[in-house]
């Protein structure tokens, strides 16, 4: 089994095919989208491939140390950031092919006009523990 992170972006990903802001959809289209996402997560739990999933607020900041005895420096909220993550899902699957297949399904979620969004999702394999057998 191998773990993969599926990343959804507020911005920074290439433009989706059906790229309409959500507040311009109809309420029914919003409901259908949310339902699709919930069903997707439920289905992965059912197949034993779901690990974790969280949504992130777009409001955040950059923080770095400013030296001993000084409060950390903050910068934000993310005005300069080109890449903004909206949420993630961690899956534990048999193969990279399966990870790609699942990301494809997630990207197929319905959007404006009931048509699939075809949004770009980032798929990142985990660096996992070293195997026992190495030769």
């Amino acid at each position: 089994m191998a773990k993969y992170l599926l990343l959804k972006h507020y911005r920074g990903a290439p433009n989706a095919v059906n790229d309409v802001p959500m507040d311009q959809w109809t309420p029914e289209e919003v409901d259908a989208h949310i339902q699709y996402m919930n069903d997707f997560a439920d289905r992965l739990e059912g197949t034993g491939e779901f690990v974790d999933g969280q949504a992130l607020s777009p409001n955040g900041m950059w923080v770095r140390s400013d030296g001993a005895g000084k409060p950390p420096v903050t910068d934000g909220p993310f005005a300069e950031t080109k890449d903004l993550i909206a949420g993630w899902m961690v899956i534990d699957v048999d193969s990279q092919e399966r990870a790609i297949e699942l990301a494809g399904e997630l990207s197929h979620a319905p959007g404006a006009g009931g048509a699939p969004i075809h949004e770009w999702l980032e798929v990142r394999p985990f660096l996992e523990s070293a195997p026992t057998v190495t030769e």
Binding site: M22, D23, Q24, E29, V30, Q35, N59
Partner: protein
């Protein structure tokens, strides 16, 4: 069979504070005694379903005492205490009302952080296992175990017989109640159980007010969410789904509290909840009286959140322009500010501003349900705008 197991678990948990206190009475230190009771609880959860004890409390006391002795023995640095506990234990007398109250004070001690106090209260007074608490707050069990043992180290110097701070106890119970997570452990129901237990041992109008507030909000719970988990606003809720028994109990608890004439913020919030509960239909809501309770609440605790909620009530009582005027005095940084502004602008007939603000409210939503709800609101108003443009053509 399942129902029987449930009853046992309930009983088990209600006995927790009593058993803990018996151990402390016998000379055990709080931190080790609490761990020992936890050992016994975990043991009981696995043993009781197949072999229910005839005397559950006696079983728990014996098991906890053995666990305590094991813990004390295995800890060589505590040799002195070991000598003391090795002697035949004196019979533990039944804990008094004050004993339970002291446990509440200790678990919500002002030196503890709120997250620590919450965890310790749920374990020592609620009888939940570390695993259950961890699951309820979506953190790893080892993290929750560390949080609890750190809390107990903080308390090591705290005297057990000192009078405590009822305000922090109530705040901890309120935090437990207001937690949105839902897992196998029902935190809201747990908070109500703990508030009832507190209500039984302390004579305080605000404790009554807190219990009433919890009961009145809990009564609406089934109506608050659709089966798919989406949020239903108070105005849109199916009021026939409200739990009449909980409302009745909440209202009578509140009336007893108010009769004492020692008003506090929990009673004022419960009074507002009671006025909503009192309206069979949303249009029957007595908004004028709700505004006057918000004025009381503001006098007791002037926070931006209270001001924001008051603006909503003013908008209902005196019309959207009055609501917007009240909103103008509220700090814009307060959570849900744009959600309230959007609602008032929509009521005021300014759909364009409302749509913009609903979208903003979705971006700034503090939780998923709220975000989805505000996104849907923005979509709804934008659709109204599009339909309006079509009909103008």
């Amino acid at each position: 069979m399942h129902a029987e197991t449930e009853v046992d678990a309930e009983l088990l948990r209600s006995l927790t504070p009593q058993v803990l206190h018996v151990l402390v009475r016998r000379g055990a230190d709080f931190a080790t005694a609490e761990d020992a009771v936890q050992d016994a609880l975990v043991n009981a959860v696995s043993v009781w379903p197949d072999d229910p004890p005839r005397d559950p409390k006696g079983w728990l006391i014996t098991a906890s005492w053995h666990a305590f002795i094991d813990r004390a023995r295995s800890d060589t640095s505590r040799r002195n205490r070991e000598r003391r506990v090795d002697a035949e234990p004196t019979a533990g007398s039944a804990p008094t009302v004050d004993d339970t109250l002291r446990l509440y004070f200790l678990c919500a001690h002002p030196t503890l952080t709120p997250t620590s106090a919450v965890a310790l209260t749920l374990r020592a007074l609620g009888g939940l296992t570390t695993a259950q608490i961890a699951q309820a707050y979506l953190v790893p069990e080892s993290t929750m175990a560390q949080r609890i043992s750190r809390a107990k180290r903080t308390l090591a110097g705290a005297a057990f017989d000192q009078p405590g701070d009822l305000t922090t106890v109530m705040h901890v119970l309120y935090l437990i109640f207001n937690e949105g997570y839902s897992g196998d452990v029902d935190l809201a129901a747990e908070a109500i159980r703990l508030a009832r237990q507190l209500h039984a041992v302390v004579d305080d109008a605000e404790v009554d007010g807190l219990l009433a507030l919890m009961l009145l909000h809990h009564a609406r719970r089934d109506a608050r969410l659709r089966p798919d988990g989406t949020l239903v606003t108070l105005a849109e809720q199916d009021r026939s789904q409200w739990d009449v028994a909980l409302i009745t109990e909440g209202v009578s608890t509140l009336q007893t509290a108010l009769a004492r004439d020692r008003l506090g913020p929990y009673q004022a919030q419960a009074a507002i909840a009671a006025l909503h509960a009192d309206a069979p239909r949303v249009e029957d809501t007595d908004w004028v009286q709700i505004v006057s309770w918000y004025d009381e609440l503001l006098r007791l605790t002037d926070t931006p959140v209270v001001r924001l909620n008051r603006a909503v009530a003013v908008g209902e009582a005196d019309g959207a322009p009055a609501g917007l005027a009240a909103l103008a005095a509220v700090d814009e940084a307060v959570p849900r500010h744009s959600a309230v502004a959007a609602y008032l602008h929509e009521r005021n007939g300014d759909l364009r501003t409302a749509a913009h603000l609903y979208a903003d409210a979705a971006r700034h939503a503090p939780n998923l349900q709220e975000r989805d709800h505000q996104t849907r609101q923005a979509a709804r108003v934008n659709q109204l705008l599009r339909d309006g443009e079509l009909s103008e053509r």
